[in-house]
Symmetry: C2
Subunit: 209 residues, 2 copies
């Protein structure tokens, strides 16, 4: 849609919003007009929060998660189990695993996965720091849980890390794949269903959860 | 969804985006993470554009449209026909009419419509300035086109303005309602179809358009 803006200031703001993923011109206009209806303090707060975010946010030096401090609150929490590292693609995955309340280890955020199609190689990701962390002489790490997506890229990345860690005395696991709780078998894809049969668990273990 | 944020800065930014209409928590997170992937200049530009917008934007003193200057570019364009005023609910409607390239008059933006249900009365809208403009001694205004929504609120507002202007020598019209071009009759609602029959136009006039 071409838009006849009565104001360049308005047009600029709409264009900025329209650069965001999934936000088209009409939605951008609606968002900007909404902001204009708010009072000055609220709009100031909106703009300044974003400026402050970009200026002050850090990546944790240990796990590469987004953090307000040099070491994130997970990596600096002495109640966590530092012998287990869950390797994830991005910070959203950290949030998802944390939301389960089932994991007390720490994380390592790769910042992406290996994708030759998109030109992303191991050097573009936080893989070297993972290897170094595990192979360090004073390392306490006993297990690496690979929690990457079940795509070709995820499998490639899993295999790359597996090969790099092959000589080290550390257990390498991946999260269980299977039929989601509440899902009907008839709607599951064959590969997932096949894997869930191969990786069947003793019924007794399910009673403990 | 409850979110376990690893960073207060991140959480604040996500909360700001989630205040916008139609933006939920997950979308807000996606937008903020997108901004974090942009370079510093781009994010600075995004934040500053919004701050500047709210600080500097004005409402045209003549028509109340959003404007960078005291008088908007339409009201200060001597090629426009100042004898005709199109009365609209909001600035988006100005943009829609401008997009048609069929109108050369000027506008008056009410900033809403009368809605007793939402507690919006005539005093909350730019109605007094419209009446004053038309009743001014040196007024050149000959026609008022009411282009408000066909809702009960729109009709109420139309009628209110009509009564206020009743004594003045000015033609009051409303935009034509009918079957949209390209629409099938069988899918039109009865009221629209009924009106389009009552307000039928001479076939000859359609040939001129």
């Amino acid at each position: 849609m071409s838009m006849n803006f009565s104001s360049k200031l308005l047009e600029n703001a709409v264009n900025e919003f329209a650069k965001l993923p999934g936000i088209g011109g009409k939605t951008a206009l609606r968002l900007v007009l909404h902001l204009l209806r708010q009072n000055d303090d609220e709009v100031d707060h909106f703009g300044n929060t974003i400026l402050k975010l970009k200026k002050e946010i850090k990546h944790c030096k240990v796990c590469h998660n987004l953090s307000d401090t040099d070491i994130c609150h997970i990596c600096s929490d002495i109640r966590r189990d530092f012998s287990t590292i869950c390797v994830v693609e991005n910070i959203r995955d950290v949030m998802s695993v944390e939301n389960t309340n089932q994991y007390n280890g720490v994380y390592h955020v790769l910042g992406g996965i290996i994708s030759p199609m998109e030109g992303i190689g191991p050097a573009d990701l936080n893989i070297i720091s993972l290897i170094e962390k595990i192979s360090a002489e004073n390392s306490v790490i006993k297990e690496i849980i690979l929690a990457l997506p079940t795509t070709m890229e995820g499998d490639t990345t899993n295999f790359y890390i597996f090969r790099k860690l092959g000589n080290l005395k550390v257990r390498i696991t991946t999260i269980a794949r299977g039929i989601a709780i509440g899902d009907d078998l008839e709607y599951a894809d064959e590969i997932t269903l096949g894997r869930s049969i191969l990786n069947r668990t003793d019924f007794e273990t399910t009673l403990r959860n």
